[in-house]
């Protein structure tokens, strides 16, 4: 066992090309469950973890994005290479574990040999040797170890065979590191590409020496003839055949749109029964709380403030789960790389890259990981442009808002129409992002200020059956993160909005003669709201809201939605005091919305025109503080987030104005 030295825990860094089994190995060693995804470049940041306790090795483990060479070509690769030479917190690694796919040795040895040349202490872990065995080949770790002059072992990623040997080697190497100190390394540099070509030649020679044919019962006579290394290079024919279809001129486009539309319609349809369940539960709880606590301020806080506030957002968790589930299935099957390839040409016309596809698709879940995923784009201009338009992709936080607004437009039983409207909103969002991308691209000198070599080089991994357990695990983690991230914000804002709309006029005097007790309560709450802090606050917003045909109550909800978009729904629930005799939360919000009138008039506040206007507002407005901060962090300049906020929120206001007043002008109120 290695004991901890007084000042530092040894650092073991995992290095390997994309799709070489690096993350699987990280999960084995750390006991964590990071996803391994069948898309090159799915890790964009490094993660650090302790080795599992049961291994009895005290070391930090660092996993970083896959690289194919020590000379980075994109920001995600820079993260990896920088972590090797000058990690600000952990320093140089004591030991590097380099993964290499045994069926791809000549390609994957390039990185291993660059690491050795730079002076790192390296253990090579050969993965996928089971695939090699299937083709009646095997690899000699002993010979490879002699040729490379470093430790080499085989590891089966499916069941962990070989892990014991690896742990043993890690321990020996770390002990050596303890005795002789961290290895002296020099940064790997290249003046021209001829050393690269030579290194490839040598790697091919090494590969020929270490890969040998296993004697098999059949084909013995042909065995000698096939002893060329080339026969090892069998490409998965099924994959090529599927690609003939999925990358086809017509079928490919058809398949692409079919897959995308199935994804978004199922978000609406599959989730409906689950949403009803959550909805009914919270509606019941809110009524129960109010009934048992009576007409007091704390009864109002608990039923209207807390239960309705939280419930109105949790209702949408099923939709979010289904969205993550489908995105996970697409990622794990290997389709994403094809999607990227299919739309590279069209995207390059508007200044984006095929590699913008995955970040944009993740944008449907959340803009924050999406903006980080843009690191896989090597061209800076294209990367900044991708970051720029990601907030226009409808993220899952907008789903609750859209679902509520669509619920207002469409009768409850017509889920088909609801799905169509939701799909149209998504498509409208995509079209807007395309148009805006093209425009920003035209002004790229002014906003993006970068112009470097555009390239698209992407490995197309073999298709595989998605591992359902991994996808589900990942979906649950994502949903948890969503609730954890959104939950406290919504809770805090719910209470804040409740207080603003309940005080100071918390006990208004009304003429109660001849009114039923229910009418008294309803009259009281509208009087209370009219004299509340939020009403006073709303007077400032009113001039901005009037041109949009809305009043301060919607304004307050829109302002609170800048903390997180979902808060719009709970804020509406709060302001319109939704708890009524109905046992269903969403239908009570809708009921109150249908009855709401613009203050001082008998004109309805929510009409099809204003609802469509609100939908348009949410498509464009950049109302997410976390997005603004990640956009600053990833672009490295305030210019990008500043333009995003100004342009998107400005467009939101203008287009909402046009929508509401345009619809009214043609007779739709």
């Amino acid at each position: 066992m290695i004991t901890q030295t007084a000042h530092s825990t040894p650092l073991v860094t995992l290095v390997g090309p994309p799709n070489s089994g690096k993350t699987t190995l990280f999960n084995y060693l750390s006991g964590k469950h990071y996803k391994t995804v069948n898309y090159p470049g799915s890790t964009v940041d490094y993660s650090v973890s302790k080795m599992q306790d049961k291994f009895n090795i005290n070391a930090n483990l660092l996993d970083s994005p896959g690289i194919i060479s020590l000379i980075p070509a994109s920001p995600d690769e820079e993260v990896s290479v920088h972590s090797l030479y000058k990690h600000p917190k952990y320093g140089n690694p004591d030991l590097i574990i380099a993964t290499a796919d045994s069926t791809q040795l000549s390609r994957h040895l390039l990185l291993v040999r660059q690491l050795l040349e730079s002076g790192f202490r390296v253990i090579v872990v050969l993965t996928m040797s089971d695939l090699l065995n299937k083709r009646n080949f095997d690899v000699s770790t002993k010979r490879l170890s002699e040729l490379l002059n470093c430790d080499v072992i085989k590891l089966d990623g499916r069941n962990g065979t070989g892990l014991d040997k690896l742990l043993n080697l890690i321990e020996i190497n770390l002990n050596n590191s303890l005795l002789s100190g961290k290895p002296d390394t020099t940064e790997y540099k290249l003046d021209n590409s001829s050393p690269l070509i030579n290194m490839f030649r040598e790697s091919e020679e090494i590969e020929k020496e270490v890969i040998f044919r296993v004697a098999s019962t059949k084909n013995i006579s042909k065995a000698d003839k096939e002893l060329q290394i080339l026969s090892n290079y069998q490409i998965d024919n099924t994959t090529i055949k599927i690609d003939r279809f999925l990358l086809h001129k017509y079928w490919g486009i058809f398949g692409f749109f079919a897959i995308m539309s199935i994804t978004f319609t199922s978000v609406f349809w599959l989730a409906q029964p689950l949403m009803n369940l959550v909805d009914k539960t919270f509606g019941f709880l809110a009524n129960f709380a109010q009934a048992s606590l009576g007409d007091t301020w704390y009864s109002d806080l608990i039923s209207n403030g807390l239960i309705s506030g939280i419930g109105s957002v949790l209702v949408f968790v099923p939709q979010i789960i289904i969205l993550f589930l489908i995105l996970g299935l697409l990622e794990d099957s290997g389709y994403l790389a094809r999607g990227a390839m299919l739309i590279d040409k069209p995207l390059s016309k508007i200044g984006l890259n095929g590699k913008s596809f995955v970040p944009m698709l993740s944008g449907f879940a959340c803009a924050i990981p999406a903006i980080m995923a843009a690191r896989t784009i090597s061209n800076k201009r294209e990367r900044l442009l991708t970051i720029f338009i990601i907030p226009l992709i409808s993220c899952s936080a907008r789903l609750p808002v859209y679902a509520l607004l669509i619920g207002f437009l469409v009768p409850n039983h017509n889920q088909w129409l609801g799905g169509v409207i939701l799909a149209s909103i998504y498509i409208f969002g995509i079209i807007s992002s395309v148009v805006i991308s093209a425009i920003i691209n035209k002004f790229s000198k002014f906003i993006l200020r970068n112009n470097d070599n555009s390239s698209f080089i992407l490995e197309l991994p073999s298709y595989r059956m998605p591992k359902l357990s991994v996808v589900i695990n990942n979906t649950v983690t994502n949903a948890e993160q969503y609730i954890k991230r959104a939950g406290p914000t919504i809770l805090a804002l719910s209470i804040a909005i409740w207080m603003l709309s309940y005080f100071p006029n918390n006990n208004p005097k009304i003429e109660a003669k001849g009114l039923s007790s229910e009418q008294v309560i309803s009259l009281k709450s509208s009087e209370r709201l009219a004299g509340s802090y939020s009403a006073q606050l709303g007077k400032f917003i009113q001039p901005v809201m009037t041109p949009l045909g809305m009043d301060w109550r919607v304004g307050v909800s829109l302002v609170s939605a800048f903390a997180a978009r979902e808060v719009f729904v709970s804020s509406l629930a709060m302001i319109f005091r939704v708890t009524d005799s109905s046992d269903n939360l969403q239908s009570s919000i809708l009921h109150s919305m249908r009855n709401a009138e613009i203050e001082g008039t008998n004109q309805k506040l929510f009409t099809p025109a204003t609802i469509l206007g609100l939908i348009v507002f949410f498509i464009f407005a950049l109302q997410c503080i976390s997005t603004i901060s990640i956009s600053y962090k990833e672009s490295g300049t305030w210019r990008i987030p500043l333009f995003q906020v100004l342009i998107f929120t400005g467009l939101a206001y203008i287009f909402t104005f046009i929508t509401v007043n345009g619809l009214r002008a043609i007779g739709i109120n």
Binding site: A73, R107, S193, L196, I235, L342, I457, L458, E459, L460
Partner: protein, 73 residues
């Protein structure tokens, strides 16, 4: 002088040289396109760009413009 971008669908060819003046040439070499390697055009995307080449037991998609720097026999 033929380039990898001139290969027909399903055609195989051997790389003779890489034009190192092309800005993407280093990455093209690093990913495995080296002189002497046999490549096969296995797929094309819509609009015939990017192109998917099989080499060294895997499939790599690159743009036509990048296939221009791969010179074949």
């Amino acid at each position: 002088m033929r380039k990898a971008s001139d290969i027909g669908f399903g055609e195989k060819a051997v790389i003779s040289d890489i034009d190192t003046s092309h800005p993407s040439s280093r990455r093209i070499i690093e990913i495995g396109f080296t002189p002497g390697q046999e490549i096969e055009l296995v797929n094309k995307s819509i609009f015939n760009d990017p192109l998917a080449f099989a080499l060294r037991g895997t499939v790599i998609a690159i743009r036509k413009r990048e296939a221009d720097c791969i010179i074949i026999i």
